[in-house]
């Protein structure tokens, strides 16, 4: 799965939790969940749980703490997919 596929999958999940259509339309690695997409901490948990299901990965507390923007989130997903592939 390449970065673009991950980003598309992530955008589909985020679209359920944000009202900021403009920020969603222009989503990039620099997009911040809280500042740009106005997602609260409770919905951030929902997004992480949806990511686990969609990508079939497990996200620990340490990774969750990093997932505050698109770039960091895509990196966490890539790392966890690589870990799964190595098993």
């Amino acid at each position: 799965m390449d970065k673009q596929e991950i980003l598309t999958g992530l955008r589909d999940i985020i679209s359920l939790y944000t009202e900021e259509q403009d920020a969603l339309d222009h989503i990039s690695e620099q997009t911040d969940f809280i500042a740009d997409l106005k997602i609260n901490s409770a919905n951030l948990v929902d997004i992480v749980l949806d990511i686990e299901e969609k990508f079939n990965i497990n996200i620990d507390n340490e990774s969750m703490a990093k997932m505050l923007n698109v770039k960091a989130t895509v990196e966490v997903i890539e790392d966890k997919l690589a870990e799964n592939a190595g098993k």
Binding site: N40, S41, A42, L44, V45, D46, M64
Partner: protein, 148 residues
Amino acid sequence: MTKDEILSKLPYGPGFLFVGELLHVDENGVKGTYTFDQGLLFYQSHFKAFPVTPAVILTETMAQIGLVCLGIYLLRGNTIGEGTGLAMTSSCIDFIKPVYPGEQVTVISEKVYFRFDKLSCKVRMENSIGETVCKGTISGMLKANSNE
């Protein structure tokens, strides 16, 4: 943690406490009761000549027993204290039957998940003859209190 310890850690004052007795609590859920006193203030106005428990109060009762009591138990008093609280972040409830002044209700809550400080529960309320009066899912987030 005992049921009394959970009750003693509830953050509500007498004017907005909707937990009576806790019947059972474990890792996966909680069961408790509350009796709606006929003298509760809102009955004078909801409705003017026809007192019935407001849906928002039924929701609050489900949240206090089903979510907050369970949250306090799951945290074992470790992180909940003066500086933290549990904020309701979503509720989706169906209301099936009315609850009148003086009725006792039982709230049964099952944990769906508790991850990253978010607790989500399937909650149901029964009246004294075992009929479901409302049911749904409620979620809350453990938060540090701030003065912002």
